[in-house]
């Protein structure tokens, strides 16, 4: 840098004119040749820039991180990134701030007599190891879609390969589990076949209960800005309340909560009625299934095959007239929706996120969205198909691909599939049978067992939480989280960067490194694997979550726990340097140094992804790119090619030639996707005389999930300071409530005082309330329902019955 500074004036003096020309050229071609001076061009003295995916949502924007004097000082959108093309949202522009909240956790803290006392890392690791040794089968890991790939992989290997225990589940269970099961039961394999390119190509975009403008703003802009370029595109907002997405929509259709099932079936009805079934495509590539043998029986995940005629018969009651009665949409609106699917000249993209997934019929609803696209032939062309979005930066990369779920193994394998478990044991060099063949507890069950006294069947006695805040994000939090307070024998370990609602009940708090304080890899919603390097040091004694896991594994190894050794007696996380010498990565001073542990773990994980043709790119390729969409396959010339669309010949390298379309992991092993019939099923709780309102919860643009990060950023906090309840104007008038006044919301599970916002950010129809869940001082999830989808086990945060009571000043 000094040399560069000294040369700066000379350099500028002599090359001003040529620099002008080259700088202008630079903006035209994003990756041109390196100019004289290259990255050292010292126009911004002392600031070094490097790429990283944004820390927040599942979109996976890339940012340029500006670092000066060991601190992040600036953020810019990355123009080389295909996802965001240089643009960010307001959270992204301020992502650098999340490292610098004044109350960062910097030392391990142990609760002693109700007080947190600082302890050494060595002692903290020992406390965890002793808890596990006491009862390895009663230990659980609660992880996250914000885990990096390496962190999730290490945790999964530690618990499944080391402890022979499958009680590991992520917060993503609350987020996209329904989408996972929807993909698996439709295509036989998880994750979208398509990608964000759809937003550049579709003619019609249908938002299914998805406030796209606030939740995935960069992708929303990628679509809606096409209007500025004169393209004729149509946005349809199918929603239960008016949002910022509705403002841009060409058609806003406000329906009664939970009737989306009937609306989707009504579209299928109309496609059949109009004779618009894509006959050739359906005959060659699809089969039909119904969820039971006979109506009235319980639905099953894989159902029963049925013929087209029977399917037609089952769908016949979903006429626009009948569905109009149920859903509150007019017959004309339903007919309009139907016409988009009947007309195959227009490319129709359906996109969804929490509205469909957080649903007691979440799997069914996912099945139906795939079904209407397959049935009508709106499938496969860029811009023409169904696509689910995720809310966390690595819900796909870490949870779905690394399999940090109660039943999962890396590479989308399952513990209860003997072949899969054997492959994992082989790759991990474990003795046969090490992996427990019985799936562990899913999120809701795990926390229920943890919050149940040990003598009443509560057989989870220790939970280690990493990178998430269940105290605020679990539904029915009094039952599933706060009940822990009365159970002194239960032990909660929390690794985090800030004090949160969860750390309040923790017994041991571990300070973590985050984002560009560590090496990491995320995987976004469109199968894109993204890598970044550590750029700054974590504060105090904060350390990587992945190191924490490995250090505990090593302590167990040292204490003689047999599971921490592989077949040959080597440590589960044995790593050696180029000279073949073992690197003691469980010692923090060796974790970063001779080897890149993140790279080693990733390369160890990569062979798993080849088993089900989800080949992720080599680390060295990720370093060069702004992420690559798997399957990434090497070409004859040695280059690596990503895949934009799966199952389609010419795009997906695993489709046999001549097939056109091939679902090579199909449910019936017949290369065909499933068109599901799933009936409308009433919700478990609906408004009644006592609790007359629907209560919906969700997010806002400025805050990310529980706002432990965004709540510490002044710009975001001031833009959206506190939680509120959105209420319909006429409902408020009837109850004598004015804008800004306080009300108390009651549900069967709890109550909460909130200010009322009428006609504000969003607008509720009559009988509907909306509360964002970001405010740690107003925990709306103490009121929500823990009823969940029978297949995906994902709870419904969007619908429960509530009562409003005015609070007298």
């Amino acid at each position: 840098m000094n040399l560069a500074d000294a040369n700066r004036r000379d350099f500028l003096r002599t090359t001003a004119l040529s620099a002008a020309a080259s700088a202008l050229a630079a903006r035209v071609s994003a990756r041109g040749p390196t100019p004289p001076g290259g990255r050292e061009l010292p126009v911004v003295p002392g600031v070094a820039w490097d790429k990283a995916p944004c820390r927040f949502c599942g979109t996976g924007c890339h940012v340029q991180v500006g670092v000066a004097n060991g601190k992040v000082v600036a953020i810019s959108g990355d123009r080389d990134a295909e996802v965001n093309q240089g643009l960010l949202c307001v959270k992204g522009y301020h992502v650098g701030h999340i490292l610098y909240g004044k109350d960062r956790l910097t030392t391990p803290l142990l609760r002693r007599d109700g007080q947190f006392v600082p302890i050494s890392w060595d002692d903290a690791i020992d406390v965890i190891a002793q808890r596990i040794l006491a009862a390895p089968d009663k230990f659980a890991f609660y992880g996250s879609g914000q885990w990096t790939v390496g962190e999730g992989y290490a945790a999964n290997k530690f618990i499944k390969g080391g402890l022979s225990n499958n009680h590991i589940d992520p917060n993503a269970r609350l987020c996209m589990a329904s989408a996972v099961v929807g993909y698996i039961s439709t295509y036989g394999i998880d994750e979208p076949y398509n990608c964000y390119d759809d937003f550049d190509h579709c003619d019609v975009l249908i938002l299914w209960g998805n406030n796209f403008a606030e939740m995935h703003p960069v992708l929303f802009s990628r679509f809606i800005d096409r209007k500025l370029r004169g393209e004729k595109i149509t946005l349809i907002d199918l929603a239960t309340r008016w949002t910022r997405s509705s403002e841009r929509a060409d058609h806003v259709m406000i329906f009664q909560p939970h009737t989306d099932l009937a609306i989707a079936n009504c579209i299928a009805y109309q496609v059949i009625e109009a004779g618009a079934v894509a006959r050739e495509f359906v005959e060659r590539h699809c089969v039909f299934r119904k969820p039971w043998k006979q109506p009235g029986e319980p639905q099953t995940l894989l159902g029963e095959p049925c013929g087209f005629d029977e399917y037609k018969q089952l769908i016949s009651s979903y006429t626009p007239e009948a569905v109009s009665q149920m859903s509150g949409l007019s017959v004309e609106q339903l007919r309009l929706l139907g016409r988009f699917f009947i007309d195959r000249s227009k490319k129709v993209c359906s996109v969804w996120c929490m509205g469909v997934n957080q649903h007691t019929q979440g799997t069914a609803m996912n099945n139906l969205l795939h079904a209407i696209h397959l049935l009508s032939g709106h499938w496969g062309r860029p811009g023409d198909g169904p696509q689910s979005l995720t809310g966390q930066p690595s819900a796909c990369g870490t949870v779905r691909e690394v399999g940090t779920l109660a039943h999962g193994l890396p590479g989308d394998l399952r513990v209860d599939n003997p072949e899969h478990a054997a492959s994992a044991e082989k790759l991990w060099n474990l003795p046969p049978g090490r992996i427990n063949r019985k799936p562990g507890y899913h999120t809701v069950l795990m926390w229920e067992k943890f919050c149940t006294p040990s003598d009443q069947g509560g057989d989870i006695h220790t939970i280690w939480v990493q990178v998430t805040n269940p105290g605020q994000s679990l539904p029915n939090a009094k039952k599933l989280f706060e009940a822990k307070q009365r159970l002194p024998d239960k032990f909660l370990i929390v690794s985090d960067i800030y004090p949160t609602t969860t750390t309040r009940l923790a017994d041991l708090i571990l300070p973590s490194a985050t984002w560009v304080e560590k090496n990491g890899i995320f995987g976004n919603s469109e199968r894109r694997t993204q890598q970044w390097f550590r750029m700054v040091h974590p504060p105090g004694e904060a350390r990587d979550d992945c190191w924490q896991t490995i250090a505990v594994a090593r302590r167990l190894y040292d204490l003689g726990f047999p599971g921490m050794k592989d077949k040959d007696g080597k440590f589960l996380f044995h790593m050696q340097d180029d000279e073949g010498k073992e690197v003691e990565i469980w010692k923090w001073d060796q974790y970063y140094g001779r080897i890149n542990v993140d790279e080693r773990l990733y390369e160890e994980y990569r062979p798993f992804t080849r088993i089900k043709h989800k080949d992720v790119a080599p680390y060295s390729e990720l370093v060069k790119s702004r992420g690559m969409r798997w399957p990434v396959v090497q070409q004859p010339d040695g280059s690596w090619r990503e895949t934009r669309y799966r199952f389609i010949e010419g795009m997906d390298p695993f489709v046999s030639s001549g097939k056109g379309v091939q679902f090579y992991y199909s449910v019936g092993k017949d290369d065909r996707a499933v068109i599901w019939f799933r009936p409308y099923v009433p919700p478990p709780e609906a408004p009644d005389a006592e609790y007359p309102f629907w209560l919906d919860t969700g997010r806002v643009l400025e805050h990310w999930h529980t706002a432990t990060m965004t709540g510490r950023v002044a710009v975001l906090k001031r833009a959206m300071p506190a939680g509120y309840v959105e209420m319909n104007r006429e409902d408020a008038a009837e109850l004598g409530i004015r804008n800004g006044e306080r009300v108390r919301l009651h549900t069967r599970r709890g109550s909460l005082e909130l200010p009322v916002w009428i006609d504000g950010r969003g607008r509720c129809p009559r009988g509907h309330l909306f509360v964002p869940f970001f405010d740690e001082n107003r925990l709306i999830n103490r009121l929500t329902l823990d009823a969940h989808c029978p297949f995906s086990k994902e709870p419904d945060f969007k619908k429960c019955a509530a009562r409003v009571e005015k609070v007298m000043a």
């Binding site: 004036r9 500028l12 003096r13 001003a16 002008a20 630079a26 903006r27 041109g32 040749p33 100019p35 290259g38 990255r39 126009v43 911004v44 003295p45 820039w49 490097d50 790429k51 340029q64 601190k71 992040v72 000082v73 600036a74 953020i75 810019s76 643009l87 960010l88 307001v90 522009y93 650098g96 701030h97 490292l99 610098y100 909240g101 004044k102 109350d103 403008a213 703003p217 960069v218 929303f220 802009s221 209007k227 500025l228 403002e247 390097f533 370093v623 510490r712 950023v713 002044a714 710009v715 001031r718 833009a719 300071p721 506190a722 104007r729 008038a733 004015r738 800004g740 916002w757 006609d759």
Partner: protein, 258 residues
């Protein structure tokens, strides 16, 4: 898009009533009382007064005057010296391109300090220092499309090609008094620093990224803070003389592992 607070410290609302208007006090008062009576009667019939967005009061202290609801007109705290006229008139009243620009070190520092007020760091999207009633791009562009001067306030011209979802990046800081639960120690670079001059009098280089800041006239045009205005707005090809050479506009190359 840009900040439109007064460049100098003239935020205080002048509450004294100018001499020529004093004789109107009885009329105003009578009207006020009459409206109050009407308002009272209306209030009895209609339980809900026009709604106020959360944080309105806190807002008024520190930013542009909010639009006033019809019923609140008699008591509205607006400034009497702000010309009340149509958008067309305001647009027509923009300073001319050949108007002489006087720049001093003080006005420059004031402009830079003012600019830094609603940005977390140089390059961050500025926050919106006024109420936003309509969130559509045309509503924003009505003032920010070409820039506008209203009294002492400047609505700067948009500095990048228009996107349609303005509030994706620019958020309304509707509650300036909202306390952070905890302090944040992020220290961003608030100024990009002066450009380099090859010799005295030579045109300075552009010291900041021009990505999403491609319209120089937004900050440096004739509808901009006086301290950082260009002295020669009639030359429209800025980059002919001023070199854009920031690292961000160059060729970042991350292909080398470390």
């Amino acid at each position: 898009m840009e900040e439109d607070r007064p460049a100098s410290g003239g935020q205080q609302i002048d509450r004294r009533i100018p001499e020529p208007f004093r004789r109107f006090i009885p009329i105003v008062a009578t009207t006020g009382i009459a409206l109050a009576v009407v308002g009272f009667v209306t209030g009895i019939r209609e339980p809900l007064p026009p709604p106020k967005i959360l944080g309105t009061e806190a807002m008024l202290a520190g930013s542009a005057p909010a639009a006033v609801d019809y019923a609140d007109l008699p008591n509205a705290p607006w400034k009497r010296d702000v010309p009340r006229s149509s958008l067309e008139a305001l647009q027509a009243a923009r300073p001319g391109i050949f108007e002489v620009v006087l720049r001093t070190e003080e006005s420059k520092q004031a402009a830079l300090a003012d600019r830094a007020k609603n940005r977390a760091f140089d390059g961050a999207p500025p926050t919106i220092p006024h109420r936003v009633d309509s969130t559509s791009a045309p509503a924003c562009l009505a003032c920010h499309g070409q820039g506008l001067i209203v009294g002492e306030r400047i609505a700067t011209k948009i500095c990048h090609p228009p996107f349609s979802n303005c509030l994706q990046c620019h958020v309304e800081v509707s509650n300036r008094d909202a306390e952070l639960t905890v302090e944040n120690l992020f220290a961003g670079r608030l100024r990009s620093g002066p450009g380099e001059r090859a010799s005295p009098g030579a045109p300075p280089t552009i010291p900041h990224s021009v990505f999403l800041r491609s319209d120089c006239l937004s900050c440096h045009g004739w509808v901009a803070r006086p301290g950082i205005r260009t002295t020669h707005p009639w030359f429209s090809a800025c980059t002919q003389c001023h070199v854009a050479a920031s690292v961000l506009d160059g060729f970042p190359d991350f292909s080398s592992a470390r």
